[in-house]
């Protein structure tokens, strides 16, 4: 570089002046005087009138719904050009979080001689039979009897996320910040004053409108291609298009992301099933005279510990655990409510058994002799097992009730009952090995465990763990398997390794060759591994679930 040419001014104070000027905001003073003048002369009612009014009269119904009628969204798919202003308007005009919107837009590709891309905007369908409402354990959903709008009561929600499973349309979405879900309320506050919902007033093409529909109108098979069966919840949104509904392929068809693994739920389910399993085996063995196993406080204590661990972990799953005391409010419709109440009773009954059988009660209630009759204790144990079993059935029904194909009765009950048998047998063999001389019963129980495990593992292998192509396979099963063998492969191997090694250790223990301490360690280690394996199985159950959904886009 050559010489530095001529003078370089350093204008004094310029930068400071510019920086200061840059921070002054004067647009309002400069421009707003006119607006103030323009509006000041108008009557108050007109001043407050929304400026947008003119554009949306035709997008609202002329009259409110009558009996057996409700409001519904109507979407003209032929007019929608896919701009997605509805999504952002919903976000903005409802003051939602940074990346929160109650509307989504997906795409459908239609083939044939005149191919096209259709965009599908979707929000809450304000269903006639809302799954969210039926599933909610705390009555945090209400369906307005007059408008049919399905509203979520944010201050009532405990953040259990069960509605996100019960809604086939993935409408309620969970907010980490609030610890609750939120969802579309059809801008009921706007409708109440004659303004249309945010999405309706923001669509440049007028493609979304509010209509009054008959509540008992028959529903079609699905709203659009790939969508869930409308029979599940009877959604009210009406999609109009020149194509018949259901034509085309969603752009994100088969593009499945792993679902939430819900680890606290997985641990809770396995713990509860272990507990009930232990009680079931206790009942069985103590009624087989040859087994010489007697009810013991160790068994009761163990069962109680398992269920308490399970129930203690649940609050980690809840966004608002301190509101959860209202969990009984949903008993009428919600399997989650029923599960919570039953398992609470189960834990209470187990505690009572321990109280009575350890003699603590004698100190507290010295005069109540009747409580210590052996026959009564037997009855109490049977009752406890019954309540626990109903709890486990409720657990299963929670997921079966979602209508998700991969969580249907057979697939869920085999897993849940399987865990109950495998873990119950494993742990009762461990407990009995601590109490009794190692002998036939341990060998027998270990063999029962390993046999049950082998059966369960082979079922899991054939239904969802194995990789590779399978002829005539159900679409959802194939997609789920591809997740298990792809993004979730870690869980898969964890499940297999823990299961197999746990079973192996139990077999070794059952030989009794390792001496009392070695055998006990081996048995405990085996049971722990087996239980971890069941938890891994449950994590896969949650995270590998796929189900029909509204169209999305590539990610």
């Amino acid at each position: 570089m050559t010489s530095i040419p001529d003078q370089l001014d350093r204008p004094f104070g310029l930068i400071e002046a510019l920086l200061e000027a840059q921070q002054q905001l004067t647009a309002v003073e400069e421009f707003s005087a006119r607006m103030e003048m323009a509006t000041q002369n108008l009557p108050l009612a007109t001043r407050h009138k929304p400026a947008q009014t003119s554009s949306y009269r035709s997008l609202l119904p002329a009259s409110p719904p009558g009996p057996n009628q409700q409001y519904a969204f109507e979407v003209d798919l032929d007019t929608c050009s896919g701009c997605k202003a509805c999504v952002v308007a919903c976000h903005t005009l409802n003051g939602l979080e940074d990346n929160e919107s109650w509307r989504r837009v997906g795409a459908i590709t239609i083939g044939g001689s005149v191919p096209e891309t259709k965009h599908v905007t979707t929000a809450c369908h304000h269903c006639v039979d809302p799954g969210c409402l039926a599933g909610c354990p705390v009555a945090a959903y209400v369906k307005d009897p007059l408008t049919g709008i399905v509203r979520h009561l944010d201050d009532q929600c405990i953040g259990c996320k069960y509605c996100t499973m019960m809604c086939p349309y993935e409408v309620p979405s969970y907010s980490q910040r609030l610890g609750i879900v939120r969802k579309c309320d059809m801008c009921h506050q706007r409708l109440a004053v004659g303004e249309p919902p945010a999405c309706v007033q923001a669509c440049p093409n007028g493609a979304i409108s509010i209509r009054v529909v008959e509540s008992d109108e028959p529903v079609g098979e699905r709203l659009v291609a790939g969508a869930p069966h409308s029979s599940l919840t009877r959604p009210t949104t009406q999609y109009r298009a020149h194509h018949p509904p259901g034509v085309g392929i969603a752009q994100d068809e088969s593009e499945d992301e792993p679902a939430d693994a819900h680890w606290p739920l997985a641990v809770m389910l396995v713990a509860v099933q272990t507990s009930v399993g232990i009680m079931a085996f206790e009942r069985m063995l103590s009624n087989i005279s040859s087994m010489s196993l007697h009810p013991s406080s160790r068994i009761d204590g163990f069962a109680l510990a398992a269920v308490v661990v399970g129930l203690a972990i649940v609050p980690l799953h809840l966004g608002q655990p301190f509101r959860a005391w209202r969990i009984f409010l949903g008993l009428k419709t919600s399997w989650l409510s029923r599960e919570a109440v039953l398992l609470g009773m189960y834990a209470g009954l187990l505690s009572l058994i321990i109280l009575l059988s350890t003699g603590w009660a004698r100190l507290l209630l010295p005069r109540v002799e009747i409580a210590f009759q052996p026959g009564l204790m037997e009855l109490l144990r049977w009752a406890t097992l019954a309540v626990g079993s109903l709890g486990v059935i409720s657990s299963a029904m929670i997921y079966i009730a979602t209508g998700r194909e991969l969580w249907k009765f057979s697939r869920t009950s085999i897993r849940f009952c399987g865990s109950l048998v495998v873990c119950g047998a494993a742990w009762i063999s461990v407990i009995s090995s601590l109490e009794l001389p190692i002998g036939e019963h341990l060998r027998l129980l270990a063999l029962v465990t390993v046999a049950a495990l082998a059966a369960k593992l082979s079922w899991e292998w054939s239904t969802h763990l194995k990789s590779g192509f399978v002829k005539h396979e159900d679409n959802l099963v194939r997609r789920s398997r591809s997740l298990v063998n792809g993004r979730l492969a870690t869980f898969k191997w964890l499940r297999l390794l823990t299961g197999l090694s746990g079973g192996g250790l139990l077999l070794v223990a059952s030989t009794g060759q390792l001496g009392p301490i070695g055998t006990a360690c081996c048995a405990v280690g085996g049971a722990c591994l087996l239980t971890c394996g069941e938890v891994a199985e449950r994590l896969l159950y949650f995270s590998s679930v796929v189900y029909p959904r509204m169209p999305g886009t590539l990610r």
Partner: protein, 758 residues
Amino acid sequence: MSGIEPQRPAVRQLQLPIVLQQRDGAMTRELLLQPGEHGLGMTPQSLTADNVTTAVCGYCSTGCGLRIHVRDGAAVGLTPASEYPVNLGMACPKGWEALRVLESDDRATRPLLRDAGGRQCAVSWDEALTTFCHRMKGIQAAHGKDSVAFLSTGQIACEEMAFLGVLAKFGMGIKHGDGNTRQCMATAATAYKESFGFDAPPYTYDDFEQSDCLVFVGGNPCVAHPIMWERVLRNEHSPEIIVIDPRRTETASAATLHLPLAPKSDLVLLYALTRCLIRMGAVDDDFVRQHTSGFERLREHVESFTLECASAATGLEADRIESAARRIADARRVSLWWTMGVNQSYEGVRTAQAIINIALLTGNIGRPGTGANSITGQCNAMGSRLWSNTTNLIGHHSFESFQDRRKVADILRVDSGLIQTEAGWAYDRIIEGIARGEIKALWVIATNPAHSWIHQANVRELLGKLEFLVVQDMYTTTETAQLADLILPAAAWGEKEGTFINSERRYGVHKRVRRPPGEALADFHIFRAVAAYWGLDEMFSEWTDPAAVFRIMKRISRGQPCDITGIEDYAQLDRCGGIQWPWSEADASSVAVPVTHRRLFSDGEFFHADRRARFVVDAISSQPETPDDEYPLLLMTGRGTVSQWHTQTRTSKSPILRKLYPNQAYVELHPNDAALYNVSHGQAVLIRSRRGKVVANACLTPIVGRGRIFLPMHYEDTNRLTLSHFDPHSRQPSYKNCAVKIEPLRGRTLPSSSQAQP
């Protein structure tokens, strides 16, 4: 206020007691809406305003009015302005989120200077500007004044463009400067200038509503200009909509007739349509005789473009082409619209002129619902065409004309000897100049060539060769800013004021309603500071603020077709919902309030000396790179979704916008081609051209057609593939045609690390 909420019956439904069912509380109140004043309607807490003001949007050339919600002087949010004559209360997602992208962590807040170790370190403005002048002057002293160049943008205000143009050219003696508008509008500008005698898009958006036949050529307004599409849908004349586009886009699907022609066969098709129209007797003989010249040449030229020849070239059935011509011939008010499919082409100018020819020969110009109408790209591409002082002398004057130089020199009170006697290099020549070592320093303002310029790998390498690269931008993370020796932190739209000119020639005001982060300064202020540090105080003594520069612009425009001497000030622009050019003192004296929708050429008088429009025709050129055995597919690029803007420096900063488009690069591929190359939907594929390679997820869709693939331009690597070739007249890059091949990759989808950069 009458709601449509049904009357509640006197006996309310049985409800649980409050202690059991909390129907109110902090979380419920968070979503409570309040009746908003200022015409806002029901408004959430976060958006309540003590005042509102309108600003014209800073993304695309539609130029929507956005209603800024102001609390304590600062913007808290925005909604589309209900009464703005452009958008009528609507906006696309980019506009809705225009304020959110200002809050990003990667905003440039202090000048950054690359130190000896190669790191970009924060320095004071004083040091930055001193270094700027010192290095620039040093390089000019060593290698000549022309060794410094600048690349500007269509994203800054007219006043800023004018400042930059005058400062760089007349003040700093920089001859070579161009804008990124070269990538979008150069073709339209060149075509108009030659055909009409001035770069004058003749239309108003009202024409969308008045036409009974709309022809879209190489345009997809549903995605690129959704608010213009809004206007099309408001057309009450059940118009014919003819879409000429290789892909079956959303717009094509909504058309009454789609011509899915082979890519780059548009000029043949248009000439064939012209021939058909002439044979159908659709020529407006009076108009052609009185107001045009060159018709006989046109007639002779198109004679060889028979339906058979066009059918062979375009792959369309002959009767489909004829049907399109018939619809144009039968309609009373035909408007023809084109966008990047035409402009970004190696023969774009002639294609645009073929469209203009059709409008002229059928007399479809100057009347409501007619016109040969170029839809512009960026918010102020039109401003760049008039005020950037690059291709044209400021105010659409001519560098070559002595009178023009004299006029400008007098108004600006500069020595006319400082004004160059010819235009500087176009963008591609500047890039070549860097390659040849003739350009040593480059000043890049609000654009991102390291992403957007054609044959990108080459550009990145060349930018690295520069002795001094200055990037003036609102973000430090753009691909170009990463390469800079000096970053000057700029305030953005919403943090400064000025005017934009939209596609329909409408001046609109944008306003300062947010404080920029840190020490970021408006581009206007940066130019002021550069002028002062360069020692040009006197030359710019009148250039104190944008409003003052607007007054200078008015003086310069006097007597030009783009005369704006009748516009009073920003307040009038604000009051009127923007004002289209021309609006001269004479216009203003005859009508008190400017008519909202005005179109040009209603008198058939064009801007050539003989007042006649020209029919311009040319021979068909061949594509430089066609698919062959090795690279069997044709790559088209373009806009992916409404929520993505250009190189995504802004749109990737909004969390809600990021949810609206695929975050990973994707490529549209016909299912039959996919089967041929063993690619499944969603699978990652490797796309190779002779220049580079790109990985993208396959999106199988028949809308793209066989033998072609479509890759959106927004993803960082797209232009690694494109072939560097240009329209010979406009120097605009031809982005939409090069040969590629694809192969599937093993993984199903891209790992998240290769996401589009935020």
